[in-house]
Amino acid sequence: MADLINLIENWISNILLGWGLTESLAVFILQVLGSVLVVIVCFVIVIALIWVERKIAGRIQDRFGPNRAGPYGIFQSFADIIKIFTKEYISPVGAEKGLFNIAPVLAMFSVLAIWAVFPFAINVVGGDIHVGVLYIVAIGAFGILAILMAGWSSNNRYALLGASRSVAMLISYEIPMIISLLVPVLLAHSMKLSVIVEAQMPWNIFVAPLAALIFGISSMAEVGKAPFDLLEAESELVAGYHTEYSGMKFGMFYVAEFLHQFTVGALMAIFFLGGWTGPLAVRWPILGVFYFYGKTFFIYLVISWIRLSLPRIRIDQMLNLNWRFLIPVSFINLIAVAIADRVMLEFEIARWIYVVVMFLLNMLILVAALTIAERIEKAVERVEFSPRPVAVPPGKESK
């Protein structure tokens, strides 16, 4: 059996050409069908993901997840969707109507639009533009705008506070994300996502593990998953920026968060786990699609696992972690990888020596950074928590 995807593509374009349409129009209609397919698949996957997340959350917390709605609770997501569709929209009095209604659509748009440049298999890539990585970074900034719009237009003091804190955190974590994304770009010498995927042998996680770690941490902070949970810390700020939303508008924020987590898994898979590559993926592109989604789902599970195991950290600890640890370490990592890559290219070192040297360099920087951070922490602790003189009642001073 020849490749399934090319088979379907040729069949549809033959039908369209048979109807007498020009070549470019046939390609255009194929593109429309392809993009609608990707968007629908995203939505369907999110429905399954919500159920998986709730079941796993239940099991990790030593309880059953949803198990009433259908066998093993698999119809729970459908029940939730039907409920959300039939809830009433309540706008608070004095809210700015335009911004209030656009914000959830914009939040969903910013996550969906990232899926336009993903390579799913060897020649199955939608928009393979030369500046793929830059496009991803630019579109990701729309989500932050949507949060600010939601917080400001709700006419609610606490929503505005929550939105401001969220935006401060999100823009802070953009920088280590972008800098650690520069490392795969440097290793592949291109910003095209399909070139980055095909140039990974072995996978980038073995050549640049520190960049993968920094990208993973900052992406989890971008999504808002614990331990960087404070965007939805209900005990602190009611519900943050989406306090005043109800019904499907809130549903859009909720689905956008799950889809963002899944998209971060896809980005990790493309940049560090080799995208669609795997055994026999070149011969049969449909296997490439399976490998891609499989790796994405694996990262999604790892992020869920971390979220369900760690407590929340405070915002000043979070921002300290970013500005004092992640940004300097990611800069030093970038400098070291750039120097090592260029020097080894100059002397044309063999591939396996290159991989080993890069791996050791990354581990060296990680260990050095953690040691220095620990020393600084101990010094600070010694100053802050030294025993202070305490008043003792007379007669007990000898103790």
Partner: protein, 118 residues
């Protein structure tokens, strides 16, 4: 090459239309019974008093400013990272000097204490 950008344009339109349709469906099938009690601003059940627009904390502005500087720096680093294979060996040193200058700015900001959440 242009067909790639056409795909992205089509995808952006689809990515706006599908959530918009999803948000507009409840307008037809959900109940609409507004009342003053329901439309009050939520403040854990207490009545809202005072100005809604609170005073903006200046710390947020400082974070945005420093983010802006580093964001522009990364924009400059992208072409350098892509072209590093074709440039002479000295280009690495030039790039590293650029990063170090801005890194010195970050260290200065950290020592001044502006990056701590007050």
């Amino acid at each position: 090459m242009l067909t790639n950008w056409v795909y992205i344009g089509v995808f952006l339109i689809v990515a706006v239309v599908v959530p918009l349709v999803a948000v507009l469906i409840p307008v037809f099938i959900a109940p609409k019974k507004p009342s003053t009690r329901k439309e009050e601003i939520y403040e854990c059940g207490i009545e809202t008093k005072g100005n809604i627009r609170i005073q903006f904390k200046s710390q947020y502005y400082i974070y945005a400013l420093i983010f802006l500087i580093f964001d522009i720096e990364t924009i400059f680093l992208f072409p350098w990272a892509v072209a590093l294979g074709n440039l002479p060996l000295f280009a690495v040193v030039e790039g590293v000097i650029f990063i170090v200058i801005l890194f010195a700015g970050l260290v200065y900001a950290m020592r001044k204490g502006v990056l701590a959440w007050s």
